[in-house]
């Protein structure tokens, strides 16, 4: 057999519905053999690798509103599902109010991949390595979903259940992701550890959002999400509590970093061993929290 290192895609049908209702009905009727796609950067790779065997790919990115990105000074930012990552990174609203999301989006793959890849696709794909998941959760993101029973909102803090497993059901189409206004004076940081800068997935990803909060003993609230160290994006709650309950000092930050490490349950794979990942969680949480803390102090 001839070796073909770059095989084409397996045969499938391409469906372009005229409305969300039509798309949703089609997807529900063909549950298990049809999937919606945005940029297709996960979908086509998985199909080529024969990990996914869908008979139908359903192109919903041209439906109304899917490509809109809007900002409302009272309510926040709404990113249509088909808005690509470069468009998010270039949005003046995102840059001004959600720099953490921009930083996370810019860390994904390469410029040309980001002109197809979407944040909503990253979210729906639910890979624990997804770079924009941490920022999306910490910023209070809510997915707008159109399903067979109508529209609903899915808070991202409760959306992920395992690699590729989410609250989405057959017939569901995410139409947008919405972010409320971030807390006043919030500072964010995303540190991605990867083997190289060329579209490599995170070995470990650390997202931190910090802001003044008069309700905590330390006067600050830090939120921490970890990528690639658990089956879902991991919220390091024990570390968050340490940073809320004690005055922020080097020792507090070190203790929080240790707590984040202890909470991580990574696997070993070609990108890194579990032990290495855990140590990197500790080091990078320390670095990210210190960065954010430095900026919070002005």
């Amino acid at each position: 057999m001839a070796l073909n290192p770059t095989p084409g895609l397996p045969p499938f049908e391409y469906i372009k519905p005229a409305s969300l209702a039509e798309a949703s009905a089609f997807l529900a009727e063909h549950a298990g053999e049809a999937r919606p796609f945005m940029g297709g950067t996960d979908t086509f790779v998985r199909m080529r690798d024969k990990a996914w065997h869908d008979k139908f790919v359903v192109d919903v990115k041209n439906l109304e509103g899917m490509r809109n990105i809007t900002f409302d000074p009272q309510n926040g930012l709404t990113i249509g599902a088909a808005v690509n990552m470069n468009q998010v990174a270039a949005s003046p609203f995102a840059q001004e109010h959600y720099p953490l999301l921009v930083e996370a989006a810019r860390s994904v793959a390469s410029y040309q991949l980001r002109s197809r890849a979407t944040i909503v696709g990253n979210i729906c794909n639910a890979s624990p390595a997804g770079d924009t998941l941490g920022a999306s959760i910490l910023l209070g993101g809510v997915l707008h979903v159109y399903g067979v029973d109508g529209e609903r909102d899915e808070p991202l803090s409760e959306f992920f259940h395992g690699p590729g497993k989410t609250n989405l059901k057959p017939g569901d189409i995410a139409t947008a992701v919405h972010f409320p206004l971030p807390p006043a004076d919030a500072v964010g940081r995303y540190i991605k550890l990867n083997r190289n800068n060329d579209g490599d997935l995170a070995i470990v990803g650390v997202t931190v959002l910090g802001y003044p909060d008069s309700a905590t003993a330390s006067g600050f609230r830090f939120k921490i999400a970890l990528a690639s160290v658990a089956p879902v994006p991991l919220i390091a709650t024990a570390a968050e509590d340490i940073l809320a309950n004690s005055p922020i000092t080097d020792d507090t930050i070190t203790a929080a970093a240790q707590a984040a490490m202890d909470a991580s349950t990574p696997i070993s794979d070609t990108r890194g061993s579990a032990e290495y990942r855990k140590l990197m969680v500790r080091n990078l949480v320390k670095r990210a929290v210190s960065d954010v803390w430095g900026k919070l102090q002005g």
């Binding site: 290192p5 770059t6 095989p7 084409g8 895609l9 397996p10 045969p11 499938f12 049908e13 391409y14 940029g39 297709g40 950067t41 086509f44 790779v45 080529r48 790919v57 192109d59 470069n86 793959a109 390469s110 410029y111 040309q112 991949l113 002109s115 197809r116 800068n197 060329d198 579209g199």
Partner: protein, 160 residues
């Protein structure tokens, strides 16, 4: 298996092509339109050899379905030169020795073109960042970055 007849503009020419749903834009460009400048290196979005401008933005054409290009405007490396005149980037790549085996070159040129369209005078960091998704196994990248910088100068001179 359903086929789709699509109409698109490639390098300024209107093309009408009938394609199966699972054909990629890369396959269509190479096999149906016989524009073999665009290369297939990995067919999985990693190497950038297949980069083309899709409605003005660079994409990995191996990651786009041909049917999605219905109504689109596509520019491949063959569309960079005009009136027997190389694009300043092509001229600069030749002068800088940015081409060795040449396999990565079409993608490098398209990514660089896209960069100069959005940032006409990029910094070194911006050039490197824009070319992150274009792998080269020959040059070591230095001459490619030099080539992009030289193209900026050539373009500026021709405007004077």
């Amino acid at each position: 298996m359903a086929h789709h007849t699509i109409t698109l503009t490639v390098n300024g020419e209107t093309e009408v092509v009938t394609v199966p749903a699972h054909m990629t834009l890369l396959e269509m460009i190479r096999e149906e339109l016989a524009l073999t400048g665009t290369k297939n290196g990995c067919a999985s979005g990693e190497c950038g050899a297949c980069t083309v401008l899709f409605n003005g933005e660079p994409v990995n054409s191996c990651m786009v379905l041909a049917v999605e290009a219905d109504g689109a405007t596509v520019t491949t490396v063959e569309g960079l030169a005009h009136d027997h005149q190389l694009d300043p980037l092509q001229e600069a790549f030749v002068e800088s020795g940015a081409v060795q085996c040449g396999f990565c070159t079409p993608g490098m040129l398209i990514s660089s073109k896209a960069l100069l369209l959005r940032a006409p005078n990029p910094s070194d960091d911006e050039i490197r960042e824009a070319l992150v998704g274009n792998l080269c196994r020959c040059t070591g990248y230095v001459r490619i970055v030099d080539g992009v910088k030289k193209a900026v100068k050539i373009a500026a001179q021709s405007e004077e």
